[in-house]
């Protein structure tokens, strides 16, 4: 369902242009508002819908297989850490769902350089960052050379 933008809601802020993974949300030069320039390259990922501060973007199911009259609306509240969905069927039935999106504050992830630097010789080991601790087991598994055997050519 490619996206479209409501003329009266969009203020041309460009958040959708900035986020669209397909580079198809652009600002119309005459109206100074966003629109989908290439609906057939829209994955319906809703990245723009979620990012729009004015809730100005919606989707209408792909014309080649989706009958009219449906809607799937979303409200992503990043500070609250939830996403809420309202699905409306063509025949009017509705379904609502709410899910968590994150359990920690935005921006709270530590840079890898905030950790104690690894010992120089560890660069030659098979261990990756935070291992073996982050594996929650005693040691990184390994196969011995004796286990290697030649397969069928």
């Amino acid at each position: 369902m490619p996206t479209f933008v409501y003329m009266t809601s969009c203020d041309g802020c460009g958040h959708c242009v900035d986020i669209c993974p397909s580079d198809i949300m652009h600002i119309d030069k005459t109206y100074r508002r966003a629109y989908n320039i290439e609906p057939n390259m829209c994955w319906e990922c809703y990245s723009c819908v979620k990012a729009c501060p004015q809730n100005a973007i919606d989707c209408r199911g792909y014309a080649d297989f989706a009958p009219l009259g449906h809607s799937v609306r979303v409200l992503r509240e990043d500070k609250k850490g939830t996403i809420s969905w309202k699905i409306k069927f063509r025949d009017g039935r509705e379904k609502n769902f709410v899910s968590p999106i994150r359990t920690t504050p935005w921006g709270s992830i530590k840079s890898p350089s905030d950790y104690e630097p690894p010992a120089a010789e560890a660069l030659n080991s098979q261990q990756l960052a935070h291992e073996p601790e982050a594996l929650n087991i005693d040691a990184l598994p390994a196969l011995t050379p004796g286990q290697l055997k030649r397969g069928v050519l």
């Binding site: 989706a66 069927f89 039935r93 994150r102 992830i109 660069l123 990756l128 030649r150």
Partner: protein, 614 residues
């Protein structure tokens, strides 16, 4: 001409250049910083890493998690699983390497804030299946991107990388990359001691089932434009298993995922007459592939095959039986949230067609083929394996280094390591990142040497479609038909038609043979020549032009590999009608290709499969 070559050139120096900021690229960026504290690490992405790559939309499951802390699986179990699913052919060293590290990746994701569901009884991660755990992953990508941004020295969004650069003083050594900014049109020259290609696999090389507005609703993201393959191919890196395209059985039209339905909700399939059809095809599958049909779980391609045969026999449509499971309100919620978390379009299709799975068993279909390296398939670059367990023939340098020195890869870019999915792609990025740091440190003070002539030539080539359009459009009154240029969409549609009809797409019921492939190569050759006449109206179309260039080169590689492997190894993915059976005697091996940019020729060879796990 001057209008286009006067564009500003921006030079960016780095120690490690990561191309692509999806799961693999974010993993590579993170790990590079952990081991290379003082290095300059640059990540370049054609979109915005906050929502880029295959996970842009989110995911509802992590499909690769061992659960070693609870003795659920060992890495060697995963190797057996992937080997079985890919009909015997995987790089077991690479797969083992990912599997042994992937749990630490997932544990970091949880620490960073990704909501992973827990089994209320055991307190362990909620399993969807043996390898899959369930997550609330709407913000999976923004969370992972935050970690990568913290790690990178610089992230460049909205730069489409078009070509890699080679060192002018050392043959077969990478030295950087070029691309252009899709917003302001500046030309970027990146110089790097090590380059990690973590770009995307390939959607839209075969004609999709929907060719109208819905052509964007491919299973794999439409922005996965085969850069993972074209970039290394162009500099002569060897590729492997490129014939191993994947076809997905999915809910009709939206391509909504079926994993949670089969594994967690315990729904099952039946034909249009309510019959279980898989046993019908058991004997005929056995005739094609022998005892591979006995293996558990049944390989993905063989399940596709049974579905296809049933449809061809006139007993469609195939439906997923959901009515029973969806009586349970918890399962109904899981069923819907599964789509909302990763394939919202399927929820829209069902809402639009009044399909409530409580009342209607929804239809399934098989998708057009895709080429990628991270799902139930393993196309990609031929890479050096881990030092401690890769057979000597799989080791020529640093872990995940391709056959070009200093060029590393992760995710869709690396061949042979199937079933890595999101967590495994991030993990492979970490493996490549650490190896790249080691490479850079071993290199010492030696700087990569760029050829100014090379990147100045590329600058002209990169912007040529803008010039073609600017000049050519004055010949015609208006419209899209010009004798002098092709628009990117024209080239894309021609590519998709060639691949569909000659290389085993939906229109040919995934079937091809030597004469078809040979003719397909001729037509691809003409398309390649025509790419010199692509016309781009603006920078967005210029991005589409270069995505098409990447797709065409990858498609040629796929076709060459398909021609080389004279057997049908994965019925249900594609069929060589002239060699309809699996042939372990001659083809229990990897296929390798190498492209010579100057002659345009492909060299094909076989490489042995080493089974390092019993």
């Amino acid at each position: 001409m001057g209008l286009f070559t006067r564009r500003k050139t921006v030079m960016v120096d780095s120690d490690i250049l990561v191309i692509g900021g999806g799961m693999g690229g974010c993993g590579a960026t993170y790990e590079s910083r952990y081991w290379g504290r003082n290095l300059k690490i640059v990540c370049v992405e054609k979109a915005n890493i906050e929502r880029s790559g295959a996970v842009a939309q989110g995911l509802y499951a992590i499909n690769c998690y061992m659960g070693m802390q609870w003795n659920e699986n060992r890495p060697e179990d995963h190797v057996r699983y992937a080997r079985n699913d890919l009909m015997g052919l995987v790089r077991e060293d690479l797969g083992y390497d990912i599997a042994r590290h992937v749990d630490s990746t997932v544990h970091k994701f949880e620490e960073w804030g990704l909501p992973i569901m827990r089994d209320p009884e055991t307190g362990r991660y909620q399993r969807e299946g043996k390898w899959q755990i369930m997550i609330h992953g709407e913000s999976y990508k923004p969370i992972v991107a935050e970690a990568a941004r913290k790690a990178a020295t610089e992230v460049y969004n909205r730069i489409m990388v078009t070509h890699l650069l080679m060192d002018k003083t050392r043959p077969n050594r990478v030295a950087g990359a070029v691309g252009f900014n899709v917003r302001n049109g500046n030309f970027y020259v990146f110089r790097a001691k090590a380059v990690i290609v973590a770009a995307g696999g390939a959607s839209h090389i075969f004609k999709p089932r929907a060719v109208g507005e819905g052509m964007g609703r491919t299973w794999y993201a439409p922005w996965s434009s085969a850069s993972a393959y074209a970039l290394p191919i162009l500099v002569g890196a060897k590729m492997t298993q490129m014939e191993n395209r994947i076809v997905l059985t999915r809910f009709k039209d939206g391509y909504g995922p079926v994993g949670a339905y089969f594994l967690h909700l315990k729904t099952y399939t039946q034909n249009g007459y309510g019959q279980d059809y898989e046993p019908t095809w058991y004997e005929s599958i056995k005739e094609r592939v022998g005892d591979y049909v006995e293996r558990h779980p049944v390989p993905t391609c063989l399940r596709n095959h049974a579905l296809l045969e049933e449809v061809k026999a006139g007993r469609g449509p195939i439906r997923m039986v959901t009515k029973e499971a969806f009586k349970d309100p918890h399962k109904e919620t899981v069923g819907w949230e599964n789509f909302l978390g990763m394939t919202i379009g399927q929820a829209v299709v069902w809402a639009s067609q009044n399909i409530d799975p409580k009342e209607i068993n929804p239809e399934l279909t098989t998708s057009e083929p895709y080429v990628m390296g991270s799902h139930a398939t393993c196309s990609g670059a031929w890479a050096s394996g881990p030092e401690d367990c890769a057979p000597s023939e799989y080791q020529w340098g640093y872990n995940r280094m391709m056959t070009v020195e200093g060029l590393f890869g992760a995710g869709d870019a690396i061949g042979g390591s199937a079933h890595k999915f999101s967590s495994g792609s991030f993990t492979e990025g970490r493996i490549a990142g650490k190896a790249a740091v080691k490479y850079v440190k071993d290199l010492g003070a030696e700087q990569p040497q760029l050829s100014e002539a090379e990147y100045e030539d590329l600058k002209k080539i990169v912007y040529k479609p803008l010039e073609n359009y600017e000049v050519g459009r004055n010949e015609i009154v208006a419209g899209t038909v010009s004798p002098s240029y092709l628009l990117p969409i024209h080239g894309l549609q021609r590519l998709e038609k060639i691949m569909d009809e000659y290389v085993g797409g939906i229109g040919a019921l995934y079937t091809t043979n030597e004469p078809l492939l040979t003719r397909g190569l001729e037509l691809l050759g003409m398309l390649k020549e025509d790419l010199a006449y692509l016309g781009a109206e603006d920078l967005h179309q210029l991005q589409r032009a270069w995505e098409l260039q990447h797709r065409v080169l990858a498609s040629e590689c796929v076709t060459q590999h398909t021609l080389f492997r004279t057997e049908t190894r994965w019925p249900g993915y594609y069929y060589r009608a002239d060699h309809p059976k699996l042939d372990d005697k001659d083809w229990h091996c990897f296929t390798l290709s190498r492209y010579d940019r100057s002659s345009g020729k492909w060299e094909m060879e076989k490489a042995p499969v080493y089974h390092i796990v019993d």
